[in-house]
Amino acid sequence: MKYIDEYRDNDQVQRLIEAINNAVVNSWSIMEICGGQTHSIARYGIDNMLPDKISLLHGPGCPVCVTPTYIIDSAIEIALQPHVIMTSFGDMMRVPGSKLDLLGAKAKGADVRILYSTLDAVDLAEKNPDKEVVFFAVGFETTTPLHLTAIKEASRRKVNNFSIITSLFTVPAAIDAILSEADCKVDGFLAAGHVCAVMVYHEYHDISR
């Protein structure tokens, strides 16, 4: 099994589109939750292949989109302290606070660094004992275990100059919030794949009912 070729069978895709066309009688608004889904839909032109009666709406599953401005402002304020190394995922660097983004703080002299993983921040703290290494921990059910693993590892190694600032969310709560809006026009959700890889799908039964 090659895992990619099997999913790109042109004949099967055409038959699936035809089956969807036959099944869709009424108009449907479907919200995708995950930024990765939005990326795939745009990259492979999936929105153009679907019947006109299906509208795809972009949902709240990208940490970059749902991190509140006041938390970004706090991260920037901390980053501008002279003894701090502020770290986060690359995606967070250009997300605007009320006045600046993290790259703007870097331009003002802050030590801001992009890391691939929260665990890398623990290594960085260990190598820089005279600095406070702060990780701006954003995300959903997918990144939360990683942030907690890093805290546990820092504690095990007795690294006392590592801390995190959090902006973490759960996806079912975000879906509930959307559905509770009086003018909600969403008929269905494309559940977040990576979050389901971590949490499985049992939490979504109640929502679908």
């Binding site: 099994m1 099967q12 275990p145």
Partner: protein
């Protein structure tokens, strides 16, 4: 951060308690990935998300998904 990337486990480091790490090959690029929260062995493919494996890439599930696609494609409903 949003995108998970599949890679193959080359070696596993169990030396740190409760922090199982693996050297993972992403098409020629090697990275250390935390595999503490999944059950995986050398040679397995995993999905890495922000430095942590969130799932194994499992042939059985992949085949089930493809069979589900097949059922949907053949559906007249």
């Amino acid at each position: 951060m949003c995108l998970a990337i599949p890679g193959k486990i080359i070696s596993i480091d169990n030396s740190v308690p409760d922090l199982k790490m693996a050297k993972v090959d992403f098409g020629g690029m090697m990275k250390n990935v935390c595999i503490q929260w999944i059950d995986a062995n050398i040679g397995d493919y995993i999905l890495a998300h922000a430095g942590m494996a969130i799932s194994t890439v499992n042939e059985e599930y992949a085949k089930e998904t493809l069979m589900d696609f097949e059922k949907l494609a053949d559906s007249d409903e």
